[in-house]
């Protein structure tokens, strides 16, 4: 217990407390920050509509990416879980494999895929020409896939997919398949069985996947920075800039904590909702 607690205090709670304290301070010189108990940093973040807009945008981009992650990861997890036992380790390996490559390199690889003369546009052009659409609509125009919200969402979904697949796979794998057979046996269709039995019984995996993916997405800065260009930045980029380029630690700290309060709020809403739901069913 003691080493674990010490580790947590030293490397997690203490730094967090320092940042929290700094969020109530102000810069007195280029290299000095004084904690004066001021609320100016929070006031600045909440009063300037630019920051609220960026927080709002970060929220909806993260929510949409999380939803897409779930929609793609659920069938994948389902397939792995119902695959033959000898294939399962291999399929899981394929899901985890990208982790072995540095995030930065993976993100640059995505740039190579999405840019104007990238693999995605090459592929689309080939299909376009094969279908001979160029005779009908003129030559293929490369799609603007990079440096916009689409690129950020695609990048986030790609990067965080394994965090969604793994908890989903674990809960689907644990699901006793006779529940599904019982539902079919009682006359339910396949889709009815999915919505009335499979989804509710794998809800723990769905919820942990959503949390595992949504929270780091909300604070991510590398993916929007590289794929998003100037007009698609998220709150993570703003915070990063305060600590680095702008050298304004107090304001960066205040923004970090605002983001954390939003996250706490989301978790609280979730637990209230699930608590009320189970209260009704008893």
């Amino acid at each position: 217990m003691i080493p674990g607690t010490a580790w947590l205090v030293l490397f997690f709670l203490a730094p967090l407390a320092i940042i929290w304290a700094i969020s109530f301070g102000e810069n007195t010189s280029l290299v000095k920050t004084e904690i004066t108990g001021t609320l100016d940093n929070y006031w600045r973040a909440l009063s300037d509509v630019v920051y609220l807009k960026i927080i709002w945008k970060s929220l909806w981009i993260s929510l949409l990416s999380t939803a897409l992650c779930l929609a793609i990861a659920y069938p994948i997890s389902f397939l792995i879980s119902f695959a033959k036992d000898k294939w399962k380790p291999l399929l899981l390996m394929i899901v985890i494999l990208p982790f072995w490559i540095n995030l930065l390199i993976r993100t640059y690889a995505l740039i190579a895929v999405f840019r104007t003369r990238g693999f995605a546009n090459f592929g689309l052009e080939w299909i376009y020409n094969t279908l001979q659409l160029d005779h009908l609509f003129g030559a293929f125009e490369p799609l603007p896939l990079l440096y916009n919200n689409f690129a950020v969402i695609a990048g986030l979904v790609y990067v965080f997919m394994p965090f969604m697949v793994l908890p989903l796979y674990a809960s689907i794998e644990r699901l006793d398949k006779s529940y599904l057979e019982a539902s079919l046996d009682l006359g339910a269709s396949q889709s009815r069985t999915f919505w009335s039995v499979t989804v509710p019984l794998t809800m723990p995996g769905i919820v942990s996947g959503l949390i595992l993916v949504f929270i780091p997405m909300l604070g991510s800065f590398l993916t929007p920075d590289l794929l998003g260009g100037t007009n698609a930045q998220m709150i993570g980029n703003v915070i990063e800039r305060q600590f680095k380029a702008a050298n304004d630690w107090p304001f960066g700290a205040a923004l970090s904590f605002l983001l954390m309060y939003v996250t706490f709020g989301a978790l609280a809403i979730r637990s209230v909702l699930s608590g009320r739901k189970s209260g009704m069913e008893v």
């Binding site: 006793d176 006779s178 529940y179 057979e181 019982a182 539902s183 079919l184 046996d185 009682l186 006359g187 339910a188 269709s189 009815r192 009335s196 039995v197 509710p200 019984l201 069913e281 008893v282």
Partner: protein, 361 residues
């Protein structure tokens, strides 16, 4: 006889490298309590799952009430199943579990609630309708699974090892209850079990399965007293087996030369030759320190090697000079029965030739 409710016709099921069900053909009558009995891996569960629609036969037909349902999906078959694990949905209350099968087929809400309540009353769970499954005991969960299947009014109810997860006392009680329930609702029950007591006490007829094949289908008493072959004799109840060779036959009596019992004559209706097995149930064997007075009995002499005391009965094993080991079950009729003999005593064991079965090896 009326039309059978289920006809299994030349049904085969092949899994990679294994013939799980090997040419099964039999009929099950309406309102019958039918048991599929066999050791694990004999194909009984596969056969049940083919009737339910969770496995497709490699070849052959399964006809329910005149309709070939071999390729009808599970959710459109007029059968319902009670799963070995019960599979009671943990996220629904008891009453919602029971109503589920009606709800998904579009039965109106008020009819669902009446029928579900009725079904719960029938399995004596009316007072637990709003409980969640995790608040129920294993026996209660099983009743929910039963009610959930019965509320659908299936033509056939399938039960996969329904009692295996219950403790001994509850299992005995549920055996009787299931038998009564079956009479009560008048639905054909097919039960899969590896427990011979379960099958013998509940079923009208039993199919004994062995390595994918159906060895014998008969009423419990016929199965026990007239098993067709060694496997059935050995699997149902306990049995002493003696190897021998047929030396001749006169009328309905067959002469056999056995290694352990010498030359014996047993009654047998059909012709027999070659090497055969003689079988006798241990409870039909008499044991005493004095030689039998009657000349019409057969048997031998030996030493009591083992003695297992069960309260109501004792199981004894007598070893003969020729290396036979003969099991004997005696009723402990009086308190003194057990004192009369002891391990190591030399005793006579004997039985009537009428109680001897001749089985083709």
């Amino acid at each position: 006889m009326s039309e059978p409710i289920i006809s299994i016709r030349n049904v085969n099921k092949e899994f990679p490298g294994v013939m799980a069900v090997d040419n099964a053909s039999f009929d099950i009558e309406a309102n019958e309590f039918f048991a599929l009995l066999g050791p694990s891996g004999c194909g009984k569960t596969t056969l049940l799952r083919m009737i339910a629609g969770f496995e497709t036969p490699t070849s052959g037909e399964i006809i329910i009430d005149g309709q070939d349902i071999s390729h009808v999906p599970a959710n459109q078959r007029p059968v319902n199943m009670v799963f070995q694990s019960y599979a009671v949905f943990p996220h629904m209350s008891v009453i919602d579990n029971v109503g589920y099968g009606l709800k998904v087929t579009g039965v109106p809400a008020n009819e669902i609630s009446t029928r579900a309540s009725e079904a719960l009353e029938r399995v004596k769970l009316g007072n637990l309708a709003n409980r969640k499954p995790d608040q129920l005991s294993g026996g209660q969960r099983q009743r929910v699974a039963l009610a959930r299947a019965l509320v659908k009014r299936p033509k056939v109810l399938l039960l996969d090892e329904p009692l295996s997860a219950l403790d001994a006392k509850l299992r005995e009680q549920m055996q009787l209850e299931l038998a009564h329930l079956q009479e009560d609702v008048g639905i054909t029950f097919i039960i899969v079990t590896h427990d011979q007591d379960e099958a013998l006490s509940m079923a009208d007829r039993i199919a004994v399965m062995h390595e994918g094949r159906v060895d014998q289908i008969a009423a419990p008493d016929v199965l026990y007293e007239q098993p067709h072959n060694r496997f059935v004799a050995d699997f149902i109840g306990k049995v002493n087996l003696f190897e021998g060779t047929v030396t001749g036959a006169r009328g309905k009596t067959v002469s056999i030369d056995t290694a352990g019992l010498g030359k014996v004559q047993v009654p047998h209706a059909e012709a027999a030759d070659g090497s055969v097995s003689l079988a006798v149930r241990p409870e039909k064997v008499r044991i005493s320190k004095t030689a039998p007075r009657s000349k019409s009995v057969m048997g031998t002499k030996g030493r009591i090697a083992d003695w297992a005391y069960y309260g109501d009965v004792s199981h004894m094993f007598v070893e003969t000079e020729k290396g036979l080991r003969i099991g004997v079950i005696i009723q402990n009729e009086t308190r003194k029965t057990v004192d009369a003999m002891d391990v190591g005593d030399i005793v006579h064991v004997y039985w009537s030739p009428e109680d001897t079965l001749l089985l083709n090896s």
